[in-house]
Symmetry: C2
Subunit: 196 residues, 2 copies
């Protein structure tokens, strides 16, 4: 264990975006704050993995076997949105523009890192399409090399079914300046142009 | 308890400099990381207040009754540096320009917030001067209103003794925090101390 403060700093510094200096600041904040805060945060962290389950249907996080979105009868069961990670699902929920359900991959195809189709719940996605009579799959994986490859794989895996597989639009973001937009994005924005 | 993820996000968001968006990111990072990490950080936080003690002599944090600096015979026992908080001590140690010992106040005089001389270990400082035969007190409280008032109070409280009371030079910018001051500036501030 050694020095308990140094140990806490080291652990804080493993959080994303937290350097050693910030980690030190956080550790001293915890020491200076009331004891109850450290106990509450300690308890929340110690038990988070046992308290949070992956939904048996869509792999979203939740407290029950079936997550809140899958259990909500008002959600459109015929449209599934495929995302790489739960924060992406949260971002889409925050946009308030999607009323269907999800399928969370918890990763993307990355053959060089040993992540092939068997490492992701892709068979489960095909099974869901069949079992739930899904009409449309919206692939909302990132617009990166891995995200595009995963999207392509999904389209091919479902080619023999009658489900419609769509991809989220790629283009200049809201409020974006064309001058500062990269070439690939501009190319996609032109390619994906729609009639006004 | 409610939603365990929302609970963790709320607790993370109480850390300094962590907004709700960053807190959400941290919570999902912990969920995505190996279980051992959450357990280690949870344990470190749960036990930090019992594992870290305040030095009986100088109030610095440590694992024993007497902190590592007070217990180190190579440190100059005749020079005491008074700081408001432990991160300030850490910053001075990092500058490598001070070989004496410390006296940590864990606060500053702030009459409007109900913090008077009795709320700080100022009597203990006077006792130490007598008991340890201290030759010089370097007051390294911040260059803020409260820091200056506390420095002045210390000078007056020790006026009847033979100890020399000095103040770090104003190389530290007005209103600046010692914790975030670069090493060179801190070293110069110690070097350029003046008699109060």
């Amino acid at each position: 264990m050694g020095d308990p403060i140094a140990n806490l700093v080291t652990l804080f510094a493993r959080l994303p975006g937290v350097g050693e200096r910030t980690a030190t600041r956080l550790a001293f904040f915890v020491l200076g704050a009331e004891r109850e805060y450290a106990l509450a945060l300690g308890d929340a962290l110690t038990h988070i993995h046992e308290r949070v389950r992956r939904c048996e249907r869509c792999n979203n996080y939740g407290a029950e076997a079936i997550c809140a979105i899958c259990a909500d009868p008002r959600r459109d069961a015929l449209t599934l949105c495929v995302v790489a990670r739960v924060p992406d699902l949260v971002a889409i929920e925050r946009s308030g523009t999607f009323r269907g359900r999800y399928h969370v991959l918890h990763g993307l195809l990355a053959p060089l890192e040993g992540i092939g189709p068997a490492e992701l719940p892709l068979d489960a996605l095909v099974d869901r399409v069949r079992a739930e009579g899904v009409a449309e799959i919206i692939v909302a994986t990132p617009l990166s090399v891995e995200g595009e490859a995963t999207a392509l794989y999904i389209a091919e895996a479902l080619a023999h079914t009658s489900v419609k597989v769509t991809r989220i639009a790629s283009g200049v973001p809201h409020g974006g300046e064309l001058e500062f937009t990269d070439q690939v994005t501009l190319g996609r924005a032109l390619e994906g142009r729609r009639t006004l």
